[in-house]
Amino acid sequence: MGLLTNLRDSVSRVTDRLFASDDPKRIGIYGPPNAGKTTLANRIARDWTGDAIGPESHVPHETRRARRKEGVDIERNGQSVTIDIVDTPGVATKVDYKEFLDHDIEKDDAIRRSREATEGVAEAMHWLREDVDGVIYVLDSTTDPFTQVNTMLIGIIESRDLPVLIFANKIDLNEADIKRVADAFPQHETVPLSALEGDNMDEVYDKIAEYFG
Protein backbone atom coordinates (compact mmCIF):
# COMPACT_ATOMS: atom_id res chain seq x y z
CA MET A 1 0.00 0.00 0.00
CA GLY A 2 2.78 2.44 0.97
CA LEU A 3 4.68 1.37 -2.13
CA LEU A 4 1.73 2.15 -4.38
CA THR A 5 1.13 5.46 -2.66
CA ASN A 6 4.77 6.46 -3.13
CA LEU A 7 4.68 5.43 -6.78
CA ARG A 8 1.47 7.39 -7.34
CA ASP A 9 2.95 10.46 -5.62
CA SER A 10 6.14 10.26 -7.70
CA VAL A 11 4.23 9.96 -10.98
CA SER A 12 1.90 12.74 -9.88
CA ARG A 13 4.84 15.04 -9.11
CA VAL A 14 6.40 14.43 -12.53
CA THR A 15 3.13 14.94 -14.43
CA ASP A 16 2.30 18.04 -12.40
CA ARG A 17 5.60 19.57 -13.44
CA LEU A 18 5.25 18.56 -17.08
CA PHE A 19 1.76 19.96 -17.52
CA ALA A 20 2.30 23.03 -15.40
CA SER A 21 5.45 24.07 -17.23
CA ASP A 22 3.94 27.36 -18.45
CA ASP A 23 2.85 28.47 -14.99
CA PRO A 24 5.20 30.73 -13.01
CA LYS A 25 7.49 28.64 -10.84
CA ARG A 26 7.32 29.27 -7.12
CA ILE A 27 10.90 29.74 -6.01
CA GLY A 28 11.49 29.53 -2.28
CA ILE A 29 14.35 31.55 -0.82
CA TYR A 30 15.67 29.43 2.03
CA GLY A 31 18.62 29.45 4.38
CA PRO A 32 19.60 30.00 8.01
CA PRO A 33 18.66 33.20 9.87
CA ASN A 34 20.63 36.34 8.92
CA ALA A 35 21.96 34.98 5.62
CA GLY A 36 20.41 37.89 3.71
CA LYS A 37 17.34 36.17 2.26
CA THR A 38 15.04 39.18 2.52
CA THR A 39 17.76 41.51 1.23
CA LEU A 40 18.05 39.23 -1.81
CA ALA A 41 14.26 38.93 -2.24
CA ASN A 42 13.97 42.73 -2.08
CA ARG A 43 16.85 43.16 -4.54
CA ILE A 44 15.21 40.82 -7.08
CA ALA A 45 11.74 42.32 -6.56
CA ARG A 46 13.00 45.91 -6.82
CA ASP A 47 15.09 45.19 -9.92
CA TRP A 48 12.17 43.65 -11.82
CA THR A 49 8.96 45.04 -10.29
CA GLY A 50 10.01 48.21 -8.45
CA ASP A 51 8.53 46.98 -5.13
CA ALA A 52 10.15 45.46 -2.06
CA ILE A 53 8.94 42.31 -0.28
CA GLY A 54 9.66 42.94 3.39
CA PRO A 55 11.78 44.73 6.00
CA GLU A 56 15.46 43.83 6.34
CA SER A 57 17.24 43.71 9.69
CA HIS A 58 20.39 42.50 11.39
CA VAL A 59 18.19 41.02 14.15
CA PRO A 60 17.74 37.27 13.54
CA HIS A 61 14.22 36.05 12.64
CA GLU A 62 13.11 39.46 11.36
CA THR A 63 11.11 37.56 8.73
CA ARG A 64 8.61 35.50 10.69
CA ARG A 65 6.06 34.82 7.96
CA ALA A 66 6.66 33.55 4.44
CA ARG A 67 6.17 36.48 2.06
CA ARG A 68 5.34 36.09 -1.58
CA LYS A 69 5.85 38.29 -4.62
CA GLU A 70 4.01 36.97 -7.62
CA GLY A 71 4.73 37.35 -11.31
CA VAL A 72 8.31 38.58 -11.23
CA ASP A 73 9.39 38.76 -14.90
CA ILE A 74 13.14 38.37 -15.35
CA GLU A 75 14.43 39.09 -18.83
CA ARG A 76 17.60 37.35 -19.97
CA ASN A 77 18.99 37.02 -23.49
CA GLY A 78 15.81 38.23 -25.14
CA GLN A 79 13.61 35.79 -23.22
CA SER A 80 11.38 36.36 -20.23
CA VAL A 81 11.17 34.06 -17.22
CA THR A 82 8.31 34.51 -14.78
CA ILE A 83 8.71 33.37 -11.18
CA ASP A 84 6.87 33.82 -7.89
CA ILE A 85 9.33 34.58 -5.11
CA VAL A 86 8.65 33.17 -1.65
CA ASP A 87 10.86 34.77 1.02
CA THR A 88 10.85 32.36 3.96
CA PRO A 89 11.82 32.74 7.63
CA GLY A 90 15.32 31.51 8.46
CA VAL A 91 15.30 27.85 9.42
CA ALA A 92 16.64 26.78 12.81
CA THR A 93 16.19 23.85 15.20
CA LYS A 94 16.11 26.13 18.24
CA VAL A 95 14.72 29.56 19.07
CA ASP A 96 15.49 31.11 22.45
CA TYR A 97 13.81 34.41 23.25
CA LYS A 98 16.88 35.42 25.31
CA GLU A 99 18.82 35.90 22.06
CA PHE A 100 16.52 38.80 21.21
CA LEU A 101 17.30 40.48 24.53
CA ASP A 102 20.85 41.04 23.21
CA HIS A 103 19.34 43.32 20.56
CA ASP A 104 17.79 45.73 23.08
CA ILE A 105 14.36 44.14 22.80
CA GLU A 106 12.17 44.01 25.93
CA LYS A 107 11.36 40.59 27.38
CA ASP A 108 7.66 40.58 26.43
CA ASP A 109 8.48 41.60 22.88
CA ALA A 110 11.29 39.03 22.74
CA ILE A 111 8.92 36.24 23.80
CA ARG A 112 6.37 37.35 21.21
CA ARG A 113 9.06 37.46 18.53
CA SER A 114 10.35 34.01 19.45
CA ARG A 115 6.82 32.57 19.32
CA GLU A 116 6.26 34.11 15.89
CA ALA A 117 9.68 32.88 14.78
CA THR A 118 8.85 29.28 15.72
CA GLU A 119 5.59 29.51 13.78
CA GLY A 120 7.51 30.97 10.85
CA VAL A 121 10.07 28.17 10.77
CA ALA A 122 7.28 25.56 10.88
CA GLU A 123 5.57 27.39 8.03
CA ALA A 124 8.81 27.48 6.01
CA MET A 125 9.19 23.71 6.40
CA HIS A 126 5.63 23.20 5.28
CA TRP A 127 6.20 25.34 2.16
CA LEU A 128 9.29 23.30 1.36
CA ARG A 129 7.41 20.02 1.53
CA GLU A 130 4.30 21.17 -0.32
CA ASP A 131 4.46 24.41 -2.22
CA VAL A 132 7.73 25.33 -3.94
CA ASP A 133 9.02 24.31 -7.38
CA GLY A 134 12.62 25.33 -6.86
CA VAL A 135 14.92 26.67 -4.16
CA ILE A 136 17.47 29.44 -3.87
CA TYR A 137 19.53 28.53 -0.82
CA VAL A 138 21.20 31.61 0.63
CA LEU A 139 24.29 31.36 2.82
CA ASP A 140 26.33 34.02 4.53
CA SER A 141 29.75 33.44 2.98
CA THR A 142 31.50 34.91 6.05
CA THR A 143 30.26 32.03 8.26
CA ASP A 144 30.88 28.28 8.33
CA PRO A 145 28.41 26.66 5.89
CA PHE A 146 28.93 23.16 7.31
CA THR A 147 26.11 23.30 9.85
CA GLN A 148 23.47 20.73 10.61
CA VAL A 149 20.60 22.97 9.50
CA ASN A 150 22.25 23.52 6.12
CA THR A 151 23.07 19.82 5.73
CA MET A 152 19.53 18.79 6.63
CA LEU A 153 17.81 21.36 4.45
CA ILE A 154 19.93 20.57 1.41
CA GLY A 155 19.16 16.87 2.03
CA ILE A 156 15.43 17.62 2.24
CA ILE A 157 15.56 19.68 -0.97
CA GLU A 158 17.49 16.91 -2.77
CA SER A 159 15.06 14.26 -1.59
CA ARG A 160 12.22 16.20 -3.21
CA ASP A 161 14.17 16.50 -6.49
CA LEU A 162 13.79 20.28 -6.46
CA PRO A 163 16.21 22.33 -8.56
CA VAL A 164 18.47 24.29 -6.21
CA LEU A 165 21.00 27.07 -6.54
CA ILE A 166 23.36 27.95 -3.68
CA PHE A 167 23.93 31.69 -3.30
CA ALA A 168 27.06 32.66 -1.36
CA ASN A 169 25.93 36.07 -0.11
CA LYS A 170 27.79 38.98 1.51
CA ILE A 171 30.87 38.82 -0.75
CA ASP A 172 31.33 42.54 -0.14
CA LEU A 173 32.67 41.68 3.33
CA ASN A 174 36.39 41.00 3.83
CA GLU A 175 35.81 37.70 5.66
CA ALA A 176 33.80 36.20 2.78
CA ASP A 177 35.02 32.78 1.71
CA ILE A 178 33.24 31.64 -1.45
CA LYS A 179 35.35 28.49 -1.83
CA ARG A 180 34.32 27.27 1.61
CA VAL A 181 30.66 27.49 0.58
CA ALA A 182 31.29 25.77 -2.76
CA ASP A 183 33.29 23.01 -1.05
CA ALA A 184 30.51 22.34 1.47
CA PHE A 185 27.98 21.52 -1.25
CA PRO A 186 30.01 20.47 -4.30
CA GLN A 187 27.02 18.70 -5.85
CA HIS A 188 25.33 22.07 -6.46
CA GLU A 189 26.27 25.23 -8.32
CA THR A 190 27.37 28.08 -6.07
CA VAL A 191 26.88 31.68 -7.20
CA PRO A 192 28.70 34.46 -5.29
CA LEU A 193 26.87 37.74 -4.74
CA SER A 194 26.23 40.68 -2.49
CA ALA A 195 22.49 41.25 -2.35
CA LEU A 196 23.09 44.40 -0.30
CA GLU A 197 25.53 46.00 -2.76
CA GLY A 198 24.11 44.41 -5.90
CA ASP A 199 27.40 42.71 -6.77
CA ASN A 200 27.32 39.97 -9.44
CA MET A 201 23.55 40.23 -9.95
CA ASP A 202 23.90 39.64 -13.71
CA GLU A 203 25.15 36.12 -13.05
CA VAL A 204 22.45 35.67 -10.40
CA TYR A 205 19.72 36.43 -12.95
CA ASP A 206 21.38 34.32 -15.64
CA LYS A 207 21.38 31.33 -13.28
CA ILE A 208 17.80 31.92 -12.11
CA ALA A 209 16.66 31.94 -15.74
CA GLU A 210 18.74 28.85 -16.51
CA TYR A 211 17.57 26.81 -13.51
CA PHE A 212 13.99 27.92 -13.06
CA GLY A 213 12.92 29.13 -16.51
Partner: protein, 133 residues
Protein backbone atom coordinates in the same frame (compact mmCIF):
# COMPACT_ATOMS: atom_id res chain seq x y z
CA UNK B 1 3.96 -7.59 26.54
CA UNK B 2 4.15 -3.81 26.09
CA UNK B 3 7.37 -2.53 24.57
CA UNK B 4 9.67 -0.68 26.94
CA UNK B 5 10.24 2.99 26.28
CA UNK B 6 13.77 4.32 26.87
CA UNK B 7 12.86 6.12 30.08
CA UNK B 8 11.14 3.03 31.60
CA UNK B 9 14.34 1.09 31.91
CA UNK B 10 16.49 3.54 33.83
CA UNK B 11 16.40 5.47 37.04
CA UNK B 12 16.13 9.25 36.96
CA UNK B 13 19.64 10.66 36.47
CA UNK B 14 20.49 13.16 39.19
CA UNK B 15 24.08 14.02 38.43
CA UNK B 16 24.50 12.67 34.96
CA UNK B 17 23.09 12.76 31.49
CA UNK B 18 20.95 9.90 30.20
CA UNK B 19 21.85 8.67 26.74
CA UNK B 20 19.35 6.60 24.76
CA UNK B 21 20.88 4.64 21.89
CA UNK B 22 18.01 3.58 19.66
CA UNK B 23 18.67 0.79 17.20
CA UNK B 24 17.69 0.88 13.56
CA UNK B 25 15.42 -2.13 13.99
CA UNK B 26 13.54 -0.39 16.82
CA UNK B 27 12.86 2.62 14.60
CA UNK B 28 12.03 0.53 11.55
CA UNK B 29 8.67 -0.55 12.92
CA UNK B 30 7.54 2.97 13.78
CA UNK B 31 5.58 5.51 11.75
CA UNK B 32 7.20 8.91 11.14
CA UNK B 33 5.25 10.67 13.88
CA UNK B 34 5.95 7.85 16.33
CA UNK B 35 9.67 8.27 15.68
CA UNK B 36 9.45 12.03 16.17
CA UNK B 37 7.45 11.59 19.38
CA UNK B 38 9.95 9.05 20.72
CA UNK B 39 12.82 11.47 20.01
CA UNK B 40 11.17 14.61 21.35
CA UNK B 41 9.81 12.94 24.49
CA UNK B 42 13.35 11.80 25.31
CA UNK B 43 14.93 15.15 24.51
CA UNK B 44 12.32 17.09 26.49
CA UNK B 45 13.20 14.89 29.47
CA UNK B 46 16.77 16.14 29.10
CA UNK B 47 18.13 12.98 27.46
CA UNK B 48 20.56 12.68 24.59
CA UNK B 49 19.06 10.48 21.90
CA UNK B 50 21.36 8.64 19.50
CA UNK B 51 19.78 7.02 16.47
CA UNK B 52 21.72 4.20 14.88
CA UNK B 53 20.26 4.87 11.45
CA UNK B 54 18.90 8.42 11.55
CA UNK B 55 15.79 9.82 9.94
CA UNK B 56 14.75 10.30 6.33
CA UNK B 57 14.89 13.87 4.96
CA UNK B 58 11.11 14.07 5.14
CA UNK B 59 11.15 12.96 8.78
CA UNK B 60 13.88 15.49 9.55
CA UNK B 61 11.68 18.19 8.05
CA UNK B 62 8.76 17.11 10.23
CA UNK B 63 11.03 16.90 13.28
CA UNK B 64 11.97 20.57 12.80
CA UNK B 65 8.32 21.50 12.32
CA UNK B 66 7.09 19.64 15.42
CA UNK B 67 10.02 20.93 17.49
CA UNK B 68 9.02 24.48 16.61
CA UNK B 69 5.47 23.92 17.81
CA UNK B 70 6.75 22.71 21.20
CA UNK B 71 9.19 25.52 21.98
CA UNK B 72 8.12 27.36 25.09
CA UNK B 73 9.88 30.28 26.88
CA UNK B 74 12.08 29.21 29.83
CA UNK B 75 11.00 25.61 29.33
CA UNK B 76 12.11 24.19 26.00
CA UNK B 77 14.17 26.16 23.48
CA UNK B 78 14.50 23.46 20.83
CA UNK B 79 16.94 20.78 19.82
CA UNK B 80 20.51 20.41 18.69
CA UNK B 81 20.86 17.68 16.09
CA UNK B 82 24.01 16.36 14.49
CA UNK B 83 24.52 13.81 11.75
CA UNK B 84 26.67 13.28 8.71
CA UNK B 85 25.56 14.59 5.32
CA UNK B 86 23.00 12.48 3.53
CA UNK B 87 24.83 10.22 1.09
CA UNK B 88 23.59 11.31 -2.30
CA UNK B 89 21.86 8.18 -3.54
CA UNK B 90 25.12 6.56 -4.56
CA UNK B 91 23.92 3.15 -3.43
CA UNK B 92 20.33 3.55 -4.58
CA UNK B 93 18.73 2.49 -7.80
CA UNK B 94 16.39 4.75 -9.75
CA UNK B 95 13.55 2.42 -8.71
CA UNK B 96 14.43 2.87 -5.04
CA UNK B 97 14.21 6.64 -5.41
CA UNK B 98 11.01 6.43 -7.44
CA UNK B 99 9.43 4.28 -4.74
CA UNK B 100 10.61 6.56 -1.99
CA UNK B 101 12.94 3.95 -0.54
CA UNK B 102 15.58 6.33 0.68
CA UNK B 103 18.75 5.26 2.41
CA UNK B 104 18.82 7.00 5.78
CA UNK B 105 21.63 5.12 7.49
CA UNK B 106 23.55 7.84 9.26
CA UNK B 107 24.28 8.01 12.95
CA UNK B 108 22.35 10.94 14.42
CA UNK B 109 22.67 12.62 17.80
CA UNK B 110 19.81 14.76 19.13
CA UNK B 111 19.69 16.62 22.42
CA UNK B 112 18.16 19.63 24.15
CA UNK B 113 19.54 22.84 22.61
CA UNK B 114 20.67 24.10 26.01
CA UNK B 115 22.66 20.94 26.81
CA UNK B 116 24.52 19.99 23.67
CA UNK B 117 27.02 22.10 21.80
CA UNK B 118 28.87 21.18 18.65
CA UNK B 119 32.59 21.72 18.97
CA UNK B 120 33.67 20.50 15.57
CA UNK B 121 31.99 19.05 12.55
CA UNK B 122 33.19 17.86 9.19
CA UNK B 123 32.06 15.08 6.90
CA UNK B 124 33.92 12.43 8.91
CA UNK B 125 33.97 13.64 12.50
CA UNK B 126 31.43 15.27 14.80
CA UNK B 127 32.66 16.41 18.20
CA UNK B 128 30.06 17.63 20.71
CA UNK B 129 30.06 18.83 24.30
CA UNK B 130 27.18 17.52 26.41
CA UNK B 131 26.42 19.28 29.67
CA UNK B 132 24.03 18.61 32.54
CA UNK B 133 20.78 20.55 32.83
Amino acid sequence: MPEATPSDSTTEPENGVQIDLISGSRMEGLRSMEKIRLILDGVRDGNIVILEEGLSPDEESKLIEVTMTEISPDEFSGIEIESYPHEEAADQSFLDRLMGRESTKKLTVIGPANQIETLHKDDQLISALVSRK
